[in-house]
Symmetry: C2
Subunit: 416 residues, 2 copies
Amino acid sequence: MTTAEGFRVLDEKSLREYIKATPSLASKLGTHELDNLDIKEVGDGNLNFVYIIISPSGSLVIKQAVPYIRLIGESWPMTKERSYFEATALKRQHDLSPEHVPEVYHFDKTMSLIGMRYIEPPHIILRKGLIAGVEYPLLAEHMSEFMANTLFYTSLLYLTTTQHKSAVAEFCANVEICRLTEQVVFSDPYKISEFNRWTSPFLDTDVEAIRNDKILKLEVAELKSKFCEKTQALIHGDLHTSSVMVTKDSTQVIDPEFAFYGPMGFDIGAFIGNLFLAYFAQDGHVDHENDRKAYKAWILDTIANTWNLFYKKFTSLWDIHKEGPGEAYLHEIYNDLELRELVKQKYMMDLFHDSLGFAAAKMIRRIVGVAHVEDFESISDLVKRSDCERRALDFAKNLMKKRRNFNTIIDVISVA
Amino acid sequence: MTTAEGFRVLDEKSLREYIKATPSLASKLGTHELDNLDIKEVGDGNLNFVYIIISPSGSLVIKQAVPYIRLIGESWPMTKERSYFEATALKRQHDLSPEHVPEVYHFDKTMSLIGMRYIEPPHIILRKGLIAGVEYPLLAEHMSEFMANTLFYTSLLYLTTTQHKSAVAEFCANVEICRLTEQVVFSDPYKISEFNRWTSPFLDTDVEAIRNDKILKLEVAELKSKFCEKTQALIHGDLHTSSVMVTKDSTQVIDPEFAFYGPMGFDIGAFIGNLFLAYFAQDGHVDHENDRKAYKAWILDTIANTWNLFYKKFTSLWDIHKEGPGEAYLHEIYNDLELRELVKQKYMMDLFHDSLGFAAAKMIRRIVGVAHVEDFESISDLVKRSDCERRALDFAKNLMKKRRNFNTIIDVISVA
């Protein structure tokens, strides 16, 4: 497939030639070793082709977007221009949180192709670690760091209105991918859709109950409006536990192709919501050797720490930059200590409630929508799986409806 | 002044030549009568030069933006590109509400020049009519019509996400004018600023009280965030009573150069807030012949009717287009009658509270900020004037703080 504009989907052979002809990639692998490359396609993602390229003296990853959703096939077209927004967001996030975002070596707009750092073993996808029951003692610390930095510095707490509106305008063009989220997160789970699936027949009545839940639909409409209209910060847009690669010491956030200016709570909620999914799936992974009780407690601790550390880091950045360029709260107006505390508390409480709402929306869609999570899918006993899913679903429905009644993350966890 | 790009400020002589050379303008005046034009500069606005051009067989208005704020002078630069956004918004709003927005005949981007319909006498600026105590029986009907049409059809209740994000991106470039609003509406009144003025010394302590009012500053921060971040609809952006021209039978909305994608409540609030300013100024216009009591009641009725008719028209458009292209509330999800009512009530209540908050912000800034209103300025007795202003100020402060406690516009009016 080669388009008029020069786009063509690469395979291993053509990729080899492409690397040879591209100094910014070739230099990472050692220019004398380009005939000796180990190239492996590892695209377990839903949307793209991903290659790992290793030479005796270097490595990198090549990610190429194709003009459809890989998970579904060519029948669901999706602009490959998302690759531009992914590269742009990756670079911005790497600048803001260099320890937790891989470096971009190369971007080719025509080819919708990104060359970036290979996140080497023993890094694995966080979701797989959560299923295996592995504790990551620094996960909350690292993720709160990533979110605090990327969200604070791209918001009006740090940017001028001029910078903010210019960035908002640029990312408005990533609209097709926003539409995909609108459909699969905020719409399809609440109606009959050919793409929806669930653990049937066990969850049939649960799925129907969602379609008939007026209050839930009222709440999801408000969340959808915020997703579509609230240009609060440059968000990752897809910050679930498969967008994070981990070891015990390292946490790397990848795949920001859903990035745009949206509500911060969508990122925080995606991460927390997916940790809750992992939590509710644990009972399906119990075996003779491990009752998973300690692990469940660790997940809940990690959720609490993520929010609490985020709160601390985010408000600390706000304090540091209180006389900075950000135009939301001018220092001349908000220079009183007590007032600054009030302002922070209000802002963070609104953000907390947004985050809980989006966490719930992300949980629901993973159980009754098109894209499911391995946390549950890997439970082969369908009765057991659907029990776990139902508990997650009930928790999420309650969370979405009652989110404004929660004042602390500990309150939320005590419900789980 | 002629810039490299070909921009030059026109005077009467050069304007005459310009019209002769521009068929879309010349044709409106009668091409044989172009040596017989009556040209009058009537720029009583804060920002631009405005000419009325009349020939024996036609008329039009020419509005030219200059690269500074006319009210302040060349010391406060302001991009003349605002003219592009004014022309774009005028055309869009004329399409959506043709009876209440003048037709654009011509737009010249290089010259930042708009040629449009002359809104002929006996049309006067609404603010002047309100000061004179003239009742406009159709005002609420017409303004609610204008607002319902322009706000509904540019929101996600009618647009697809693709159309919405594309329009949002376009108007992001009108950023300098947004910054002006941020400064003069949401910032300067709450701090010491060289541009602020007020009826001194009578309001000195009131002005200081605003700077020390923590709760008020907390609320105005939330409103400012909505102004900066909530891309709800294409708003007029400056919908006070001097942006409206009226006769008993006709209502014409002009000057949308502040247009951008923002919160709907900013328009509704601007209009209602300025009616409240007119109301509180009435006691300063009492004379032996007229105690203005009936007129005050008419203003309050007009405020109530504006909101109630807006509610009716807006939700009626929503009903009509419930299966239309708008992507906020998909019909498949929100097809239940009771649920639809719940959704509408929630949406409209949020919009009501936004509108009250912005109304209050617009009132406060007109009493203690840079730009005042003739309603008060025309009261020459400063004691009387400051009494009126203080009552307006106290009402506005209360409105901003307590806006979420009001359920109906009648509740609000009973406080006034």
